[in-house]
């Protein structure tokens, strides 16, 4: 019994199954892969693989399909991340063109990734907790309604409306803006809770109320931009790749809509030295994703934000991982510059 061949068999099974979507039997295996042994030998190997829980048979006389554990082993030890095709590289490169507004870029990136992989692509907004305040603006929308805008040096803009208790004049807002700006410009977003109260305290009593409301609004904006968000694309791929196939897409769509779930999922994925992390089937903490896998990686400064894809466990891991990794690198490069 040769250990290397057993792995080779597992690999062949995974590849064939991913390709054909059908349980693969011993005979088909020896035909499609030149393994140098007979089908009987393969059968013995397969029996062992099944004992170890790496593959399973849907019913007595059918071929075998990989289990979650089998995919895991495949991803960890067998597969090599393939280089991208020229066409793919070109597609990624063309992403460099166009406006480099963060939102635009993320949107185009996620769309690209979903097309490259034929899966649902997801990307977190970059973390901003370490970003600094670049600018703030107060705009009077109505006598008691103030639009508060917070601009970070990362280029992210947050906005929100604050209600004033009393009618407010433009000059008051100008004054307060100057005060706030003077104190918090350049300071980190996550330090705002420490800084804002002191600004309010130093205000002339007449403005104290308004200042309090505005400080509260600013705080909310800062929280929100730390508070994570995401963009996704390619949900239609769920239906396409699963035509006549049993990844019940209902629960998956639910998970995708509950952005909180997805964000947790992405955030919790450990960073892998090889560049991309994979979470397979029941490894996923969320029940609805028990038939799905997530392939993700970090990007940007510190690789703190994540980008990745979501698809059926039966997916082409090597190519998918390659695409995710490549796109993440380009994205880092664009945003970093």
């Amino acid at each position: 019994m040769s250990e290397p061949r057993k792995l080779e068999v597992l690999r062949a099974i995974v590849e064939d199954y991913v390709h054909s979507r059908e349980p693969v039997g011993s005979k088909a295996l020896v035909e499609r892969h030149h393994l140098g042994v007979s089908s009987a030998t393969i059968r013995n190997d397969m029996a062992l693989l099944e004992e170890e829980g790496l593959i399973a048979a849907p019913h007595t006389s059918a071929g075998r399909i990989p289990t979650d554990k089998g995919y895991r082993l495949f991803v960890d030890r067998i597969s090599e991340v393939k280089p991208l095709s020229a066409a793919e590289r070109r597609a990624i490169h063309s992403l460099l063109e166009g406006p480099d507004d963060v939102e635009d870029i993320l949107e185009r990136t996620v769309r690209l990734l979903s097309q490259l992989t034929n899966q649902v692509a997801v990307v977190q907004y970059p973390h901003l907790s370490r970003a600094r305040v670049r600018h703030i603006e107060f705009v009077l929308l109505a006598p008691r309604q103030v639009l508060v805008v917070l601009i970070a040096d990362s280029g992210k803009v947050e906005q929100g409306v604050v209600h004033a208790a009393a009618d407010t004049a433009d000059e008051e807002l100008m004054t307060l803006r100057a005060r706030f700006l003077g104190s918090i410009a350049g300071s980190q977003l996550d330090l705002m809770p420490q800084v804002l109260p002191s600004v309010v305290a130093l205000c002339p009593p007449a403005l104290r109320n308004l200042a309090g409301a505005l400080a509260h609004g600013l705080q909310r904006l800062a929280d929100r931009s730390r508070d994570e968000r995401m963009v996704m694309a390619g949900t239609a791929n769920l239906a396409r790749s699963n035509v006549d196939f049993p990844l019940s897409i209902g629960p998956v769509l639910e998970a995708l809509e509950e952005q909180v779930v997805m964000l947790r999922l992405l955030s919790d994925m450990a960073e892998d030295p090889r560049g991309v992390t994979v979470s397979i089937g029941r490894e996923n903490p969320y029940d609805g994703l028990s038939e799905a896998s997530v392939v993700a990686t970090g990007y940007g400064p510190g690789s703190s934000a994540k980008i990745g894809i979501l698809g059926p466990t039966r997916m082409d891991y090597p190519n998918t991982m390659a695409a995710v990794r490549a796109v993440a690198r380009y994205l880092s490069r664009i945003l970093g510059g």
Copy 2:
């Protein structure tokens, strides 16, 4: 042959079919609805209805199901928009609470609508072409990178990055901001193409280049906010309501992802005097939606922006229309105030 009864039969068929998801036969009809005639009579009526193309039989010995045309007649002439239940009213009311940032509101609204109707809900951002410029801001992100922010009096904030040909100083930006603001503050977004060039022309030659780039950026932002966008929620309902059911959800998801398609669709829906417009099955201009219906209505100033839902043709039109109408009214009220 009584015309009113024929309509009554059509109505019964639609209601039963929507409820049971199964073709409905003559016998079942007389049982569930007290029509005061025998099944044979109903059969005669049904034969006529079929001749007129209002209902159809999937195969010889099955009951009938409504055609698109049948639904159309049902919606136009038979159904009454039902009042909402108390629970639904309560749900809508609770929407009034919370921050009234436009984005937040739209997001919560669309989520609410999808829950009320169990369909996919969609809402256009309010049109801003008539909005006026409230404020602009230029922020230096890097020596040659300027963040341009445009704030409209509607409370909408647009942002984008502009590349400068040469290194730029903060003071230059201040100067230009004052110039631009002086000329365009208060003017309508759609007049910007007329106003901006003159501002550039009046700039001192040293700033002319930069001013041109900034004007271009501002123009892009103005375009973008006229350029429509949308928010949606409830895609998971597609899978749920169609478990074991043949609204092939693939094409629908595709349509939803192609926001352009959806926006066109919504925009093109004529305003209906009764408050909500319905587009049924093949009436939809987009092929992928041939088995889907859209129920939408305008909201906000001039009812120019649209809100609505998307679901299988076999849907509960009266309740859905009621929900869409009610939510749109509340939304108008909130945004209007």
